[in-house]
Amino acid sequence: MNDTNIQNKKRFTISPPVTALIIALVLFLLSGLLPNGFNDWASALRQAMNILRLASFIAIIGAGQTLVIISGGEGIDLSAGSLVSVGALITYILINGNNNLILPVLLLVLLTGAFVGLLNGLGIMHLKISPFVMTLGMSGVVQGTVILLTKGYYDGKVAPIMTQIIARDLVPGIPGMIFVWIIIGILMTLLLERTRYGKELFAIGVNRVTARLSGVRVTRMVVLTYVIAGALAAFAGFLLVGYTQNAGPNLGNQYLFPSIIAVAIGGTQMSGGKGSYFGTIAGAIVIQLITSLLTTMQLPQALQQIIFGSLLLGILVVYGRDKSLRA
């Protein structure tokens, strides 16, 4: 996994996702020592499930982010946060408590996300706007459109089945959201490792000239990746509203930054071409644990943000060493 072991093959190295999981375990045990921490197995399990459920939203928003970052070319999706909000709002307003509307609305949510992703991809590839600027701009456009359409007033209700599956326990002790997450995790890993799309995604992330000369349609791949990322972000909004039971135009914004850090902690190279969804899962759990810890310790919001920002920079310093290997 780690490229530093090319030179000295014997050296013992641990891959970033495993590192992240070990950190997560340590953090979790530490959190048990806090005054209001757990003191028996049952409460520890309950606490763990709670952390996992919260982490699942970061990880699902981070799924699209993982793809976009692997695609290289300074790929990043800053519109993901707004898309989560949009997905949540559409679901909240249109379903309005009606179980029969779940599937059509889900389809609409996915299409909306895909459409915004398409605009991102086209702007990046055809207008040659850098992904950072393009998706940041798109985030503003999306958010503005939401406010324009709703006029700041929104009313609705989540469908009962959604609450049942996402917010409640599906099996005693395990929230349904965990199962949704496991399915997405398996699909994402298959997508990256066992499909032609995944193989070509890594290829364009490493070297787009080589990819093109090997018959990969680079433009099409990049646009498609932003489309998938958009759809995934909006889908995360759909799931999130099932948990929060309430939506708002800013619901998703707080998840944008954590989703990017989760990808980085998981060892996905920020310059593209290397990474895994397993890493993002591990990263999301670490992020959620830290957030919970900081909240339990009652640190002010501003301080939490400082800690997150420093964390991201620290990770990039530690992981960013094998850049010289890229063409």
Partner: protein, 512 residues
């Protein structure tokens, strides 16, 4: 005989184990243009770079104004009055024309700040030397990044000229200029000559050498092998000096098949784009055709165009089908493969495994829709064995391989597709001798199995050893089509240089 301003004796330069220069000896005299002539890799550029301090020498002496000198960097040589203009441009794209010309040499105001007004005015004055040969977009305050290649070359020439050098070396400075611009440059050279400056002119164009040079020094395999006065010499004599005695070497490896009866599988008519100026030729099934000529005459561009990687006008007929590829993928689907020139930037995914590099063009074959990893793995394993690939495992990163082994991966990923037309863009550059000979055997084997091969190499010997037919390119055109008895090193070099008045070697080729 005039005095000598700069002379080099027995200059040596090694790059690792490769000897680029063994005995570089030239004398530069004031008021004279010295042409430096030699085929690819004969050490011309290395020698000029040693003189200007870009490279340090491993032996020999440089005498400048009767004193031994050795410059450790180009700035030191410049201060002493030795300037060079290179083909690989050294301008800074994000600066203006004037800023580039006066870089590190800016006129100052009384207060020590840069005097932009004087700088721009002086630049405008310099530009009049090339008046009428460039677009109005070239002016002192234009940014270099907005200029086409020929105008950048003009700026580069003027930059060197503005430093008022004692010795000016022009290394392939005419390669990107049109004839009017070349005329202006030659006027400038005449002007410098009349001022008793020493001039060195490196060019691959025979006609230019005969127009402007007074004397020529010929290099072969890193050695100075001769010196002629242009007025008393002719193209033949120079070509003979360049080629030396190994004329008429026979091909050892090539199958020497005859192809007169068969149909052409690839017909190229009038191909044109930025680098190609009307290329036409035919290739028959199972032929191994070489592309020769000096570097950068459109060879790579031709291969990339055939592979669908460049826009073009003209007609390409492949296997009786008129094609217009607009992406390499379409070419690949028609059985074409391109082994690119630069492994690291065009051929490999350095961060990924050997396995993934092997299969990058091939994944579609294993889609069910999930990839059949087992069969992909065993196919790659087998290809590794077939190519004698030395590796730790298929899952090791491709960056862990040596140069020769990495090149095998680039080749292997196409062999897995069993291409019908194989295009090779100088594939043995920087590959060790052992791998090279394995590679030659592989090409011959592929040819015997009916693969049609188009093979560009900057190594003339390689073309002579392998190919029964060589197309020589110059200025984006096929200058000569050599085969049979016409295919000799002398002819190859002769046509590469764009020589024309040859009576002994050249016979009109009969190839269609």
């Amino acid at each position: 005989m005039k005095s000598i301003v700069l002379c080099t004796e027995n200059i040596e330069k090694r790059f690792g184990g490769v000897i680029a220069l063994k005995d570089g000896s030239i004398e530069i005299r004031p008021g004279e243009v010295l042409a430096l002539v030699g085929s690819n890799g004969s050490g011309k550029s290395t020698l000029t770079k040693v003189i200007t301090g870009v490279l340090s020498s491993d032996g020999g002496t440089i005498t400048y104004h009767d004193k031994p000198v050795s410059y450790s960097n180009p700035m030191a040589a410049q201060r002493a009055g030795i300037m060079a203009v290179y083909q690989e441009l050294s301008l800074i794209p994000s600066l203006t024309v004037a800023q580039n010309i006066w870089l590190a040499n800016e006129p100052k105001t009384r207060f020590g700040s840069i005097d932009s007004k004087t700088m721009n005015a002086e630049t405008a004055k310099l530009l009049t030397l090339f008046e009428g040969t460039f677009q109005p977009s070239l002016h002192p305050e234009a940014y270099v990044r907005d200029l086409p290649l020929d105008e950048r070359q003009i700026v580069e020439i003027l930059k060197a000229y503005s430093r008022k050098p004692e010795v000016l070396i022009l290394d392939e400075a005419t390669a990107s200029l049109d004839s009017k611009q070349v005329n202006c440059l030659f006027d400038l050279i005449q002007l410098l000559k009349s001022e008793d400056k020493g001039l060195v002119f490196v060019s691959h164009r025979m006609d230019e050498i005969f127009r402007i040079a007074d004397r020529a020094v010929i290099l072969r395999n890193g050695k100075t092998v001769g010196e002629v006065l242009i007025a008393d010499s002719n193209e033949d004599e120079i070509v003979h000096l360049m080629v030396g005695s190994n004329v008429g070497l026979t091909r050892e490896l090539g199958g020497r098949m005859t192809f007169s009866a068969q149909e052409s599988v690839l017909i190229v008519e009038d191909l044109e784009n930025e680098q190609l100026n009307g290329v036409s030729f035919n290739i028959k099934q199972g032929e191994l055709v070489g592309i020769g000529g000096l570097r950068g005459q459109g060879q790579s561009s031709l291969l990339h165009t055939l592979f669908g990687n460049s826009h073009y006008t003209g007609k390409i007929t492949l296997f009786d089908e008129t094609l217009s590829f607009d992406h390499p993928k379409e070419a690949i689907e028609h059985g074409v493969a391109l082994i690119p020139g630069d492994r690291a930037t065009e051929g490999l995914l350095l961060l990924r495994s050997i396995f993934e590099n092997f299969h990058l063009p091939n994944w579609a074959k294993y889609c069910r829709p999930l990839l059949k990893m087992k069969s992909a793995h065993s196919d790659a394993e087998e290809m590794g064995k077939q190519l004698n690939l030395i590796m730790e495992s298929l899952d090791a990163p491709v960056s862990s391989l040596s140069g020769g082994n990495a090149q095998k991966v680039v080749i292997g990923k196409w062999l897995l597709r069993e291409p019908k037309l194989l295009l090779l863009d100088d594939p043995t550059k920087g590959v060790d001798v052992g791998t090279k000979s394995e590679f030659y055997k592989l090409l011959v084997k592929l040819q015997e199995n009916g693969t049609t091969i188009l093979f560009y190499s900057s190594d003339e010997q390689e073309l002579l050893d392998l190919c029964e037919r060589v197309l020589v390119m110059q200025d984006g055109k096929v200058k000569a089509d050599l085969s049979g008895d016409n295919l000799t090193e002398a002819n190859l070099v002769f046509h590469s240089m764009g020589a024309t008045n040859n009576n002994n070697h050249h016979e009109e080729s009969t190839h269609a």
